[in-house]
Amino acid sequence: MSHFLAIIRRDIKLALRQGGGAPLAVAFFILVVTFFPLGIGPEHALLERISAGVVWVAALLAAMLSLDRLFQADFEDGGLDLLALSPLPLELIVVAKCTAHWLTTGLPLLIAAPVLALLLDMAPDGLAVLALAMLLGTPSLSLIGAIGAALTVGIRRGGVLLSLLVLPLYVPVLIFGAGAVEAATSALAPRPHLLILGALLLAALALAPWASAAALRLNLD
């Protein structure tokens, strides 16, 4: 357990010191959300209608862009080789890194999301559900993204390939996350959507570390 927490602490420290983590991801999130009213026009009804989807898509893109922070730096300086040799299984190391990644990227996005939703004129009923849906969804994004990050960790300029691999796998989280908020704003029950988001999180927690560790072992030989 102490190894696990040590890895989380280390990754959080690195993320906070190196920068390029939370501040950049949130800045990107804010910029993308701002572009939509600038491009589509400020009409209230239209913005309210698209607010759930736009906030989710922007959060998804911001999370995806931060994914190469997950393994790349450790791979390049040899730290990942050492981690792979540690007594803690590589699968748990992946979970620890994803936890730290979520705390430094997903959590700031989650906090920023309701504020940005207000910029897009989202109805107030949707805000709480948005926060809850993102609380369930953003850890899945870190975990599923870890699979893509692990597969592309050794490839030069693997960033675009990472997007191509990971975005199709993100689609269920997007559909149910945006669906939960839209259900809440149209006085339907968001509960089924939230339950499915929870199920996706549990499935990702169980399966993604396994696939990511296999991909890391492959790239570390």
């Binding site: 050794g154 693997g158 796998l169 296999a214």
Partner: protein, 239 residues
């Protein structure tokens, strides 16, 4: 299965099979097109445009079946390190992507007169589009690595992760309220379409399968030969 891990044996068997598969596919597709275009009756509601079904539905079936074969071959390659299985998975992907594309395009061509729209974001169409992206990502991952054996393993992991999409596609018309019609053929209590439409459909499906096997054999043989060329080139450089 381990018998076919020897590429030479694989090449011999498939070279013998190839003309038969090619002939069979030409025969079956020809027969299926004849039956579908001239023998099958027009639909009472859709008229003659129901005949797109005889291309659209078999392509969709092929798209799903090829992904399943790709995932199975990837698993075999990962678990048993079967060299030909990796190449089979690699060769399946472009064929599967093409069938998915054909299914989407023929579906759009059918949807325009029938539903009044080229596209709708319902569960079936969206998940098949995701399948196309998964195929493309798979092909891209193969090309991103310099070392082919590493590429094979990475692509195998991706193929297995993406396999969750297949049951989603299959059951999407049951789990969601979709514009795309529910299953009429592959149901637990048997097909519910008339035999005059079912026969051309199955003939076309068999023809497409034979075509897939033909092209797969050609592609895997090409991969094996390319691997030999690579080995020869490398050994030449080290002399």
């Amino acid at each position: 299965m381990q018998r076919w891990a020897n590429p030479n044996r694989f090449m011999k068997l498939t070279s013998a099979l190839l003309p038969w598969c090619a002939g069979l596919s030409a025969l079956l597709i020809g027969a299926g097109l004849f039956l579908g275009l001239f023998v099958a009756p027009p639909d009472y509601q859709q008229g003659e445009s129901v005949r797109i079904m005889f291309v659209h539905v078999p392509s969709a079936w092929m798209a799903l079946m090829i992904y399943t074969i790709m995932a199975a071959a990837s698993a075999v390659g990962l678990i048993w390190k079967h060299p030909v299985a990796d190449l089979v998975a690699k060769a399946c992907a472009p064929i599967g992507a093409s069938f998915t594309f054909v299914a989407l395009v023929t579906g759009a061509l059918w949807g325009q007169p029938m539903w009044g729209t080229w596209w709708v974001w319902d569960a079936r169409l969206t998940s098949v589009l995701i399948l196309l992206f998964l195929y493309v990502g798979y092909i891209a991952l193969w090309q991103a690595f310099d070392d082919p054996s590493r590429a094979a393993k990475a692509a195998a992991i991706l193929a297995l992760v993406g396999f969750v999409n297949i049951p989603i596609i299959k059951f999407s018309v049951e789990w969601w309220n979709t514009l795309h019609q529910p299953a009429s053929v592959a149901k637990l209590d048997g097909p519910s379409i008339h035999v005059s439409l079912l026969i051309p459909l199955l003939v076309m499906a068999a023809g497409f399968t034979a075509y897939f096997v033909t092209v797969l054999i050609l592609r895997v043989q090409r991969e094996i030969l390319a691997r030999r060329v690579r080995v020869l080139r490398l050994s030449q450089r080290t002399l």
